[in-house]
Structures are given as C-alpha cells and as structure tokens.
Amino acid sequence: MTVSVENITFAYKHAQYVLNGISLELKPGTVTAIFGPNGSGKSTLLRCINRTLQPQSGSVTIENRRVNSMSHQEIARMIAVVPQDTPSDIPFTAAEMVMLGRFAHRTVWDHETAEDRTIMTQALVRLNAFDLASRPFNCLSGGERQRIILARALAQQTPIMLFDEPDTHLDISHRLELYKLVRKLADEGKTIFMACHDIFTAPMFVDTAVLLQRGNIHAMGPTNSVLTSSNIAEVFGTSINISWQHNLSFAVSLA
C-alpha cells in the first residue's frame, strides 16, 4: 500500500514547528529511511503517519484514504509500529506480549482464536524468539525485548511498517539481523519506513533516503545521492568524507 504524506506541519504546544511542510511518498516493496540529527523531527513524522500525533495541517493518505477518517483500530490493521522504547514493567509473558499484535483484528465478540495463536507462534519463530515465549517480558534483556516487540509488529500482519530508531539498543550483529529482516519484509511487498541514526550500515538495505533538518527535508532520493559528504556536513554539522563505491557501499574517513 502506498502512503502519501502531503505538506504536513506539526508543532508541540508552546514550541516552534517540529515539522515544516513535509511531503513524501512511501511505496510498497521499498525501504525508506529517514536520517537526521536528534530533534530534527524523525519520530514526530513517524507518529504523524499513524495518527498517534495529529498534524496541524496537511494530510496523510493510505491508498487515497485519509488516515484522519480512520479509527485507531483501522489504522492498526494497516500500519504496525516498532517503537523506540517500550516500558519494561509490563506484566505479560513474551507470548502474551506478541498476542497483543492481534488486537487490531479483533471484534468485540471474537476473542483469541487458533489462527491468532498460529500467527503469534510464526512471528516468534521468525524472530528466533520461540524459546522466550513463556518468559516474563520484564525479565528479558534489551535485545530480547526488541525482538519480542518486532514479533508483535509482525503479528499485526500489516502492509505498512514503521520503525522508530529500531537500531538504538542493538550491537552491530543484531543491527544487521534487523536490517536484513527489514529488507526481506520490503521484498515481500511491505511498505517500510524507518527512522534511523545509523548512517553507516543502514544505507546498505535502504532504497530511498530522506535527510531531515529542523523539520524540513534537506534531501531525498537514492541513498548515494542523499548521504553525501556535503549533505552530512550541512545537516549534522560535522565533517566526514563519504565516497560511494557503487549504489550500496561506501568508504568513510575523517575529513
């Protein structure tokens, strides 16, 4: 499903604009990653897409349907979110936690079905987390928790997935695992949008990069045209040399 973001602006109370007229399009089968310094508005933009934040102007549409006209449950049937942080004091087991992903597909009258349980198990297996199923969520390590949250998002079975800095608490090997999974999900036809800090490894798995600076899109397009030495210098205020070898890999050195 295609997501169109048109000219949205957003400001928190008593604050300057965090998003300043952002427009972009997310296409099925592609990974779009958004880069930018802390506070540039990456997470805010993500939150506006699934309406957990309400933009002051502009619109978000999924296949020509405005997100504003949908209920939380309808949105959650189309968009799954892997949040930056999840409170760890949740009293569920890992399996129960993943089962929450099925909530969007419930009606008032039908509760947990065998199909829900199958989907929950598949999600856990896909994340190599089946052995964690009966462990209490609040006893898991940071990385394990992240896998369970990912499994929960998969169990939601949505055509669109948003990742809010999913790489924050992960070491390099877990990070690569995550990016590979993200790539695979896109190759299966999902629309993926990911807010990202890691400009060094993530680009290898990304189709379109967006560079955000103080609520404005500084550059957008194929990664090798967006993540260039000059753009990085302008947006992050730091100077490194990036030389792209071909579309997917590059060398970095201090300027």
Partner: protein, 341 residues
C-alpha cells in the same frame, strides 16, 4: 503447567470452593441445619417445593438472599478493583480510588440527617441518596481530571482530593450529629444484615452485566497495560477504554456501596492475588476475579454473622482484618515503585 491451564484449574477450584462455601454458609448460624438437609431442601426448592416451615424460611428467606447478595457485591467490588488497577496501570488501585465510596458516604449522611431517622424510610432513602451522590462525585472527579491523553494521572489526583473533601464532610457530620448518625457508623463499616431478596435481585444482574462487560473488554484491557503509546499503535483508543472503565467502576461500586456500605480490601486484594498466581492476561483474570471476590465475601460474611453470634461483626471489619495483613505482606514482597500490574 502453563499459566493458561493453571488459570483454568484455579477458576474451576474457586467455583467448586464457592459452591461448597455456599452450602456451609446456609448450614451455619443461630440455628444449625445439617449440610445434608441443606442439600435436600435446596433440591426440593429447585423443583418448586418450598414449605412454610421454620427451616425453609431460615434457608430461603434469611440466609440465601444474604449469601447471594454477598457473592454479587464481592464480585462487583473485585471486578471494579481490577478495572481500576488496569485504568491506572497500578496494582495498588482500588475501586474506591475515584471517589465513589466517599461520595456515597456523603449521600448516606445527607439522607440520614435530612430525611428522617425512622428506620423504614431511611432504608430506602439511604441507598438512593448514596448511589446518586456516589455517581455525581465520580462525574465531578472525571470533569476535573479528564485532561491529557491519559486519564490516569488526572483522575488519581482529582479522586484523592475530592475523596478527602467528601470524607471531611462525613466526619464533620458525624462529629456534629453524634447519636443521630448511629446508623451511619454501621453503614460506613459495611455489612449484609439488611440483606433481602430485593437487594439480591437488584445486585445480581448488575454484577452479571459487569462480568459480561469486562469479558468483552478483556483484550482491550490487555493492550492498555502495554503503555499509552503502544496501545494506540496496536489499535486501541485508550482514552475511550479509560472512560468505559471509569463508568464501570462507578456503577458497580456505587450500587454495591449503596446496598451494603463501604466494604474495604476485596477490590484491592482479589485481583492482585489472582494476578500473582495466573498472570495478567485479562481473558483469564476477569472470570477468576469475579468468582474470587464472591468467594471471599461469602466467607467473610459467614464469619461476620457467626463468630460473635448472636451479635454481628460488620463485614468491613473482617475483610480489612484479613486484607490489611495480606496487603502489607504484598508490599513487603514487591517493590512499590516497580509496578507489576
């Protein structure tokens, strides 16, 4: 054993225990009736054969409605406690936290002072006044505390403040009116000695509807525990759920309190204890809580009317006497700060 099958076993055991306790409770009292005779009389009654002798009158006019009322009130309070603990994401919340009970107490005082002290009128006016003022005070708490994306914090603070205000009014009235409010002292401590079939038949549908409502809300309540933001991502309108839970707590608690006074600790202890045993999944916790609350209340009320017979101990004293040490034990076991809803 998985938690799911443990939950099934526990719920079944609670249910059987409750039936057993009902038989015992029917048997004991100022007139002891042998349990086998209780069973035969009950079977006969089910076939519609109720005689006019003393035994049947004690069983079916005095004891049974009282037991049924105790069960219905116990499960209503326990379910309201569970709803409050989920609404506030805090295992130490009770159904009285949003000000229903202190509001009801003010209504009861007003009824006793303003209308009459003759028992006949007071006994219908007190429930009516207390239910209205209990709901009214909850509505005020809601209006004061409704701001923000999550109702939890606002309601908690407004509930505590308004509750304290109402309690001071009640205490002031007690101080000034003294003996005229003897009834109120009994009412505040809670008890089932006024129980009759009217009360029982009023409370049972309320508790039954409450159980069905909470079973329907169980998946949403699970999602609510995942935190505000995640709950929205997962498709839950958290504020809507919180409003529903608040209405649920207000209705169940106001009716229970209006009929039987303020009975403490059932709403706090039962959901908390069961959560420790079978986990936090509301699909399992809701039915277990309803049965557990009923069971505890029947036991407490049976003790209340037999321990010091022929005198009655207010059941609120007994639940608190059992509840407070359990509560303290939980506090010792769990760190208050790290919530384990």
């Amino acid at each position: 054993m998985t938690t799911a099958s443990r939950a099934k076993w526990l719920t079944a055991i609670l249910l059987i225990a409750m039936l057993g306790v009902v038989v015992v409770s029917l048997a004991v009292g100022s007139v002891q009736i042998p349990p086998d005779q209780v069973l035969w009389r009950c079977l006969a009654a089910l076939k519609g054969q109720i005689t006019d002798d003393a035994v049947d009158r004690i069983l079916f006019t005095t004891r049974l409605p009282r037991i049924i009322l105790a069960a219905a009130v116990g499960s209503a309070l326990a379910m309201a406690g569970l709803a409050a603990q989920t609404l506030f994401r805090n295992p130490l919340a009770s159904p009285y936290i949003v000000g229903v009970s202190s509001g009801s107490a003010v209504g009861a005082v007003a009824a006793m002072l303003l209308i009459s002290t003759t028992t006949a009128i007071t006994f219908t006016a007190v429930p009516a006044f207390s239910i209205v003022s209990g709901l009214l005070v909850t509505a005020i708490v809601f209006l004061l505390g409704r701001r923000g994306k999550n109702l939890g914090y606002g309601l908690l603070l407004a509930g505590i403040a308004i509750g304290a205000l109402c309690s001071s009014v009640t205490a002031g009235a007690l101080y000034l009116a003294g003996e005229r409010l003897q009834n109120l002292v009994f009412w505040l401590m809670g008890g089932f000695w006024r129980a009759n079939w009217h009360h029982a038949l009023l409370m049972v549908p309320v508790s039954a509807c409450g159980l069905i409502t909470l079973i329907m809300l169980a998946p949403a309540m699970n999602v609510a525990l995942a935190g505000d933001r995640s709950a929205q991502d997962l498709g839950l309108n958290i504020k809507k759920l919180q409003k529903l839970l608040l209405i649920f707590i207000a209705l169940e608690t106001a009716l229970a309190v209006s009929l039987t006074g303020i009975i403490g600790f059932v709403g706090l202890i039962i959901p908390h204890l069961l959560r420790l045993i079978i986990g936090a999944d509301h699909n399992r916790l809701v039915p277990a809580t309803a049965i557990g609350g009923a069971l505890l209340m029947i036991v407490a009320d049976t003790l209340a009317r037999t321990l010091a017979a022929p005198a009655e101990i207010p059941v609120g004293i007994l639940t608190a006497m059992v509840g407070a040490p359990v509560f303290l034990w939980l506090l010792q076991r769990r760190n208050l700060g790290r919530s384990v809803v």
